[in-house]
Each structure stands twice: as structure tokens, then as C-alpha cells.
């Protein structure tokens, strides 16, 4: 449909996706308050947000048609992902594949360089967190050489606990729980775009943005790796601690 008019088609797709998401949000009586300037589509910028549930994406998507990077899910969710989300330009990754990181990093870079793509939304925590804390941000989004626009999301727990614990319940159950609860109330803040400061490493940049988001949404920063939800820590985590201890001891010894 409308094959010859690519730009118009893209615009239509964006509006349609935003509309579908609004219906979705309304289905679980979502009361969302947006603060801050609406994201504008400029080249060389990415959006990062803290992650609590897959619905984060829908809440943000109803305002602006973002392209997003997501884990491919099985079942009907996967179907939805393949059909509707393909139109906005989504990047898939697979947590369990080791080589996946490099492939995804390349896809991210390509997307950001492209002029006609939708703004990219990334959840740097890499997993759903309980909306009380933020876990360590993965640095991938922060080494693309772009401006990073932080977005903070905070759900009001009095109405419903929006945290999707994927280890405990499937997304279907989670959605049902949301729909049968009173309302999903949340605040979204679009915060000031940040760029890499001179002399700052991507990891420091990621931590700085995590701080900005955590302060705005009233979340506690914890130094945990979100991926540990899925796999046991490798020996190098323990070795890291041993190394810093040994270095500290030896330094004190030298001072004597």
C-alpha cells in the first residue's frame, strides 16, 4: 500500500503504532503523566530509560514512535513483535548467544547513522528491574558517539506493582494482572540530553546518566549486574574483588 510514497508511509506507520499503543495503555487503565519536552527526531541521538516491564516500551511508544532493541520472546508476544514492531524498525538480540553482543553493537551503530530511522530507545539495564532500584547500565548505548537523552519512568506502587518478574510469571499473566488491577499510574520524565564529556569513558558516562535517571525517578542505585538474573557469576567477578583487596593491602605495606 502506498508503495511510491515512502516518507508518507513511514509517517502513517508511526502514527498507527502510536495509536495502537494508546489503545493498549487504555486497556489497562493507564494513567500516564509525561513531563518534559517531547522527544524530537534528530540524527545521532539515542534514548535510554530505566526498565521495569515490557509495558515501559508501550507507554513511551504511545507518545513517540521509537525504534527499540528487544529480546525476542516466544508465543503471541513474539508474533506482535514481528508484525507491529517491524514497521518502526526494531533490533533483535538474544541474551544467551555469546557472539550476539558484537552483532548487536554493529546494528545499533548502523541504525543511528541512518537518517530516516525512528529514534532509538534502549534499556541499558538489560533486564526488568523492580522500580525501586536501578542496576548497572550496559555501556553499549553510550559508546555510539551520540547524544544520549535520558528518560525516567516511575510507577506508583499504590495502584499496582508494574514490575514484570520474568522468572516468576509469563508476560500474559503479567498483563492480565495489570488489566484486572485498578489502574497503572506512572510518571515519565524526558530529561536533558547528555553528551560524553571530554576525558569521560563510556562506562563513566553510563553511570552518570544512570545517576540522572535514578535521582529523577527516586530510585536507588545498586552496583549489580542485571544479567546475573539469568546466569551465575563467572570467577572473574570474584577475582576482581580479590585483586582490589590485594592491591590495597600491598599499597599499605609499601607505605610503611
Amino acid at each position: 500500500m502506498l508503495k511510491g510514497h515512502d516518507a508518507l508511509r513511514k509517517k502513517l506507520e508511526r502514527v498507527l503504532v502510536e495509536l495502537i499503543c494508546s489503545f493498549f495503555v487504555a486497556s489497562w487503565t493507564g494513567v500516564v503523566k509525561y513531563h518534559g519536552p517531547r522527544p524530537s527526531n534528530r540524527p545521532k541521538q539515542v534514548f535510554v530509560a530505566n526498565h521495569t516491564s515490557m509495558i515501559d516500551f508501550i507507554i513511551l511508544e504511545q507518545m513517540t514512535a521509537f525504534a527499540v532493541i528487544m529480546q525476542k520472546h516466544p508465543g503471541w508476544v513474539g508474533l506482535l513483535q514481528s508484525t507491529i514492531l517491524e514497521s518502526v524498525g526494531c533490533i533483535w538480540f538474544n541474551r544467551s548467544e555469546a557472539k550476539d553482543r558484537e552483532i548487536v553493537a554493529k546494528k545499533l551503530r548502523d541504525h543511528v547513522q541512518g537518517t530516516d530511522n525512528n529514534p532509538l530507545l534502549i534499556f541499558p539495564e538489560g533486564t526488568c528491574v523492580n522500580n525501586h532500584y536501578t542496576v548497572m547500565f550496559k555501556k553499549g548505548a553510550f559508546e555510539l558517539g551520540c547524544t544520549v537523552c535520558p528518560v525516567a519512568i516511575k510507577y506508583n506502587k499504590i495502584f499496582v506493582d508494574a514490575f514484570w518478574n520474568s522468572r516468576k510469571q509469563s508476560f500474559t499473566m503479567h498483563l492480565l494482572q495489570l488489566m484486572t488491577s485498578w489502574a497503572v499510574v506512572c510518571d515519565v520524565w524526558y530529561l536533558e540530553p547528555q553528551t560524553l564529556k571530554p576525558g569521560e569513558t563510556p562506562i563513566e558516562f553510563a553511570e552518570r546518566v544512570r545517576g540522572i535517571i535514578s535521582v529523577r525517578a527516586g530510585l536507588k542505585k545498586v552496583p549489580w549486574d542485571g544479567y546475573l538474573k539469568y546466569s551465575r557469576p563467572s570467577p572473574k567477578h570474584r577475582e576482581g574483588k580479590q585483586r582490589s583487596f590485594a592491591e590495597w593491602v600491598l599499597r599499605r605495606l609499601e607505605e610503611k
Binding site: W224, R232, H237, E239, Q242, A246, L253
Partner: protein, 175 residues
């Protein structure tokens, strides 16, 4: 979620609270019980070593094997009693007692030069040589007024830690 607390009666909570000398509040004990049940996968009544190791921060701790020996197979009541040293209400002495137990590998009530060396080995891993570790230890003992042949008792530990600030507290979240 939520069916865990229905298995704890008021009587149970009071018994556990008594056993840990009231160092945890009743609400904290309920939260701890939820966590205990989460870790104890097949409701055996105790948490196995492997289940403890599924907690990432625990697995990354260089002293995890030593701590495991102290908590492996404990039932809930004893588990809470063990954790009570980490309560904000616990005395400094209680915290030092726990540290002493970690160092006293053979549980004979005294900590020798070799005991401390073993702990130092766990803490520093491959990043210090045995000579460096011995050197550090001799120096540390000398500064505290002990020698390589000294056997440290709990009272010695209390004296050594006397004035330093021991930040050994856990915050139990209450819903």
C-alpha cells in the same frame, strides 16, 4: 507470591524472635521468611549450599566457602540467629564474634597465624604471593603487639577491633 507468610504463625514468629534475642522485629522476620522460602527451592526447611550460591553477591564473595560452612543446612530459626549479628541492633561484640568464627577455621576457640593466613589467601587469591602474605601478616601482628606464635582469642579480637567502626549491617526490607 504471598502464600509464604501464611505458613508462619504468630507463635512461630515469636519463637524465632526470642531465639535471635529480639534483634529483628516481627516484620523483619516475616520478610526474612519470604526470602528464605524463595531460596529454599523445594521446601526442604533449609537452604543448601548450591541455593546460597545462586545469590550472585554471595557467590562473588571471596569468603563464600567459609560462610557456607557456617550457614549450610540451617533451619529458619538458626538462620535468623546467624543473621542477627548483622542487625543494626546487634552489639559490636556480636559482630566481632562472627568475624572471629570466620577466622577460626578449626573451631577450637583460638586463631593462629596460619588461620589468618588462610583467610588472607581467600581474600587475595592469585594476586599476592605467599611470601607477601606472610610479610603483611607479621607486620600487622607486630603493630597490634602480637607475634607469629601468638594464638588470638575472642578477647584479643575485641581489643584489636575496639575503636574501629564496624559497618556490618543489613537492611531487611519490610513491605
Amino acid at each position: 507470591m504471598g502464600n509464604a507468610s501464611s505458613m508462619l504463625t504468630q507463635y512461630d514468629i515469636e519463637e524465632v524472635q526470642d531465639h535471635c534475642n529480639n534483634l529483628f522485629s516481627q516484620q523483619e522476620i516475616v520478610s526474612l521468611y519470604e526470602r528464605f522460602c524463595q531460596l529454599d527451592r523445594n521446601a526442604k526447611g533449609f537452604i543448601s549450599a548450591d541455593e546460597f550460591l545462586s545469590v550472585p553477591e554471595f557467590a562473588m564473595n571471596p569468603l563464600s566457602q567459609r560462610l557456607l560452612k557456617m550457614v549450610d543446612g540451617l533451619n529458619f530459626k538458626d538462620f535468623v540467629a546467624f543473621l542477627s549479628a548483622f542487625s543494626a541492633k546487634a552489639s559490636k561484640r556480636q559482630k566481632i564474634e562472627l568475624i572471629f568464627k570466620v577466622y577460626d577455621t578449626d573451631c577450637n576457640g583460638k586463631v593462629s597465624f596460619n588461620d589468618i593466613l588462610e583467610v588472607l589467601r581467600d581474600l587475595s587469591g592469585p594476586f599476592m604471593s605467599d611470601e607477601q602474605r606472610e610479610q603483611v601478616l607479621v607486620q600487622v601482628l607486630k603493630e597490634a603487639g602480637y607475634t607469629k606464635e601468638s594464638y588470638l582469642l575472642l578477647d584479643d579480637f575485641i581489643k584489636v577491633f575496639g575503636n574501629s567502626d564496624l559497618k556490618m549491617e543489613v537492611e531487611v526490607p519490610i513491605d
